[in-house]
Each structure stands twice: as C-alpha cells, then as structure tokens.
C-alpha cells in the first residue's frame, strides 16, 4: 500500500523555482532515501511534504488523504514526523521536555511513559541527561534528541533530513543502525542524506535529485551500483 504519494510538486521561494515536478512514493514498511548535492532541493521536498512550505502545484497524498494544502500542525497528527535539517531542537528546554513535545498531542500519561522508555532504550545517553538543558548537549546528542523526539508519537512515516550531518564517523554508524532499528519496529522512513553511500545501503529504494528535479530512481542496490551515481555522489 502506498503510504505517501508525492505527485508533480512544485515549490518556489519568491521567483526561485526550488523543486520541479517532483514525484515520489513511500510504501508501507519501506526505507526510501532522497539523495542529491547541496542545494538540490532535498530539504525543500521535506518541507513541502511536512506542510511547512506552500506548494505552487502538484498533489501530496498520505494514507490516501490529500494533505497538499494542510499546514504542518494538521499533518503531524495524521502520523508524519519530521526531524528537520539542523535538528530544530528547543535549546532552552530540557531533554525530557523536548521529548514530551514530540508527543505533544498525546495526553495519556502511561503512553508517554512507555515512549520515554522506548526512546531511552534506543539512546541511553539521553536518559543520562534527561534533566539537562538540550542546548548544552553535544552535536551527536542533539541529533539523537531530534530523532528521539520525532519517534515519540510513533509516526507511521518518519522523515529524517540529514541525520548524520556533522557527526563523528562512529556516531554516523550508530545513527544508521538506529534508523534500521526504527524501521524494523514498523515505521516507514523517508531519509534525506548527503552520505549517499550509507543511505543507499540501508534503503529499499532511492531517488536522485539534481537542481530541483528527480533524475533517477531505483532500488538501493541498483543506485549503489550505478556508475553515474558512483561518480557523482560516491566520489569515484
């Protein structure tokens, strides 16, 4: 079943045409990755899906519901969570308050408790620091917090915008393991990465974005073996 279907979407910043007729799908249970160089339009695509950016044309369906014109605050409750580029944590709030906000719309105390436990099991570092003001966390810890916050409400679709950005290599491995783990627990994932190699390795399918247009798509394996991709994105 198609969980997310993006159809011919165009987004402008003033007169800048940032994404052009972008179409992509995420099936239930998949990890789909969107790769592309800096400025290709990856974050814009994520912003368009999550409802942060207005669409000039095109259509976006989530679970067959038309969400094209819905603002972010009305899309979140449908089951989409975005961990934005740059993490977007609330720096003056504690780790636990940040996590609580991830499930802001849920009122059931028992449920919230279970979710804290789930996140803390995945990221023991966050548990150690649950009372710490999150702006004082290290970059890696902030990234864990951003991902942890995004899964607090058990979204059906988790969107991650460059979760490995700025992390030390061992932390990059850890974050990718976590992504696979979250997916195994039943969450579909749309992953934006500049680290194309890692992303394609864990992805079921991938799309390649170049200056606002999707120029290639295929299974993770196909893209990983494609000579053009290897040249352009894997530094060969």
């Amino acid at each position: 079943m198609k969980l997310l279907s993006v159809q011919d979407v165009n987004v402008f910043y003033g007169s800048i045409h940032a994404i052009k007729d972008v179409s992509l799908d995420v099936e239930k249970g998949e990890i789909v990755t969107l790769i592309g160089a800096n400025g290709a339009g990856k974050s814009t695509t994520m912003g368009a899906i999550s409802g942060l950016l207005p669409k000039k044309s095109g259509k976006i369906l989530f679970k067959d519901i038309d969400i094209t014109a819905k603002p972010a605050e009305d899309i979140t409750p449908l089951g989409i969570a975005l961990s934005p580029e740059g993490r977007g944590i609330f720096p003056g709030l504690t780790v636990e308050d940040n996590l609580r906000l991830g499930a802001y719309l849920k009122k059931d105390k028992e449920y919230i408790k279970r979710q804290y436990e789930r996140v803390y099991t995945m990221f023991p570092r966050l548990k150690e620091r649950y009372k710490q003001v999150s702006g004082t966390l290290s970059g890696g810890e902030q990234q864990m917090l951003a991902v942890g916050r995004a899964i607090m409400s058990e979204p059906e679709l988790l969107m991650l915008d460059e979760p490995s950005m700025g992390l030390a290599p061992n932390l990059v491995d850890f974050i990718f393991e976590i992504i696979v783990d979250i997916n195994k627990q039943g969450t579909s994932i749309l992953l934006v990465e500049q680290n194309a190699n890692m992303a394609l390795k864990i992805a079921d399918r991938g799309y390649v974005l170049t200056t606002g247009s999707i120029v290639m798509e295929g299974s993770g394996k196909e893209l990983l073996e494609n000579p053009e991709i290897r040249k352009a994105y894997l530094g060969e």
Binding site: L52, E73, A81, P84, G88, I89, P91, G92, L101
Partner: protein
Amino acid sequence: MNSTFLLYIVDGVVLGLIYALVACGYSLIFSILRIVNFAHGSIYAFGALMTLFFINQGINPWLSVLITLILTGMLEMLMDKVCIEPLRKRNSPGVSTLIATEGYSYVVMNMLIILFGSGRNHFETFYDLGFTINIGSLPISSTKLVLLAISGGLMLLMTYIINKTHVGLAIRAVQQNTTSARLMGIKVNRIVLGTFFLAGATAAVSGALVAGYYQICYPTMGMVMGNKTLATALLGGLGAMHGGLLGGIIIGVLECIVAGTLGATYRDAVSFVVLIVILIFMPSGLFGKKDITKV
C-alpha cells in the same frame, strides 16, 4: 536604617511587584513574537476604567475585576487578530508591527475618552480591609498587603502556567522555535492568542489594583505606566519573568526613595535613568539572553 527609609523600601517593593506584573505582559509577548506591544499601557488603563464602570453599575468590585479581566484579555486578542497576525502572515518588518500596536494604543485610549471623558475619575479603594499590621515600628496597611498578595500571587500563577502545565510547555516551545513547534502539532496562532489573553488579563488586574491604590483613574493613565513597566521589563531582560520581578523592585524602591527625599516631581524620571545606566553596562538587561534573535 531609620524607619522612614524602611517605609520607602516597603512601598517600593509593593509598587515594584505591580510594575513586574505589568511588565510580564511585555515579556510574554516579546518572548513569543519578538515585538514590543506599545498598546500595553492603554490596555492597562482600559482595565482600570472598565472595572470602575462595572463597580458603578453596582456590581461587586471583585466580580467587576473578573469580568474586566476577561474583556481586557479579549481586547488584546482582538489586537492580535486585526493588526498583528495579518502583518505576521505577510512577514512584515518588525517596525510595522510596532507602529500597529502604537496605533491600537491610540484607538483604545480614544475609545476610553469617548466613553468616560478625559478627566480624572475617583476610584474608591475596594480592598481596604481596615487593619494595619506593625512590623517593629513600621505600619503596613491592609491595602498594601492585599496589593502584594495579589500581584505576587498572579506572578506565581503565571510562572506555574508557563513552567508546569501542558499549555505552558507549548508556549515555551513556540518561544524557542516556531517551526519546530508547528512540527509537534502545536497550533501556533492559538498559543499566540492565549499569550495575548494572559498579557491583557494581568494588565487589567494591575490597572484596577493601582487605580484603587491611588483612588484615581483616567484614560491616559497607561502612558507613564506603560513606559515605566517597559523599562522594568528591559531592565530585567525582556522575556525573562524573574528578571522583571527584580527590575520592578529596583525601580519601585528607587522611585520611592527619590520621591521621599528629592520630591515626587522626579519619581517618573528615576526608572529611565536607572534603565539607561544599567543597559550601558548590561545591554541585555539583568537576566536577558545574550543573543536575542530567534533561532
């Protein structure tokens, strides 16, 4: 210390808490929208005059305050809806919003003049419990105690709402990062409206209390108060409520000392002199964040 001096301090603290309560309104709105609401003073005057209006209709004074509190909160929400939200949607520069609130201020003030006349109205103290307690040789009237209790209590209540409740968590989230708050499913415009309501409600209570304390109210009573409490909020660090409390007490106490020693003529200038001196040495106020731009 002689007892006159102690009296200045007690009076200054009483006054300071009221300043802090009014300053809360500036801080709340600033911390969410990064704008200074120049209508706050007029809205405070609206609170005082409307309370008097209801009392004059024979309604119990406390009930009058309660009705006015709700009306005043709505008046602030209306300001957001008609003149701030439209500008926010169009990403207008901050200075446009500033002028818009200034404009709203004059509309409210003129409306008050039309309804109540521009003259001064007598406002009977409605919270004189008729006793005085003595601390040592220092007499403290029940009016001062009630004023202290209510303004202190309201400050505590606001602190509780913001730091301990679910809505408060959303308010803090919006203060820190509006985009992320939306991603959490928070309806930012509702939070902003709620914040305006709180700002209006506290201004209304302060207006009624101060009018009762000095037994007088008039449509332009918010001008000096508005500026002085903006100084209070700046002194504490805009957006920091505990800072406003300290700022209020500093200004209140200095004002009472100056009024008592140099004469009442100079009392209003004190707060601004203090403000300027402190801002020279601590540009973001006593408790302000160094970086005031929004993340």
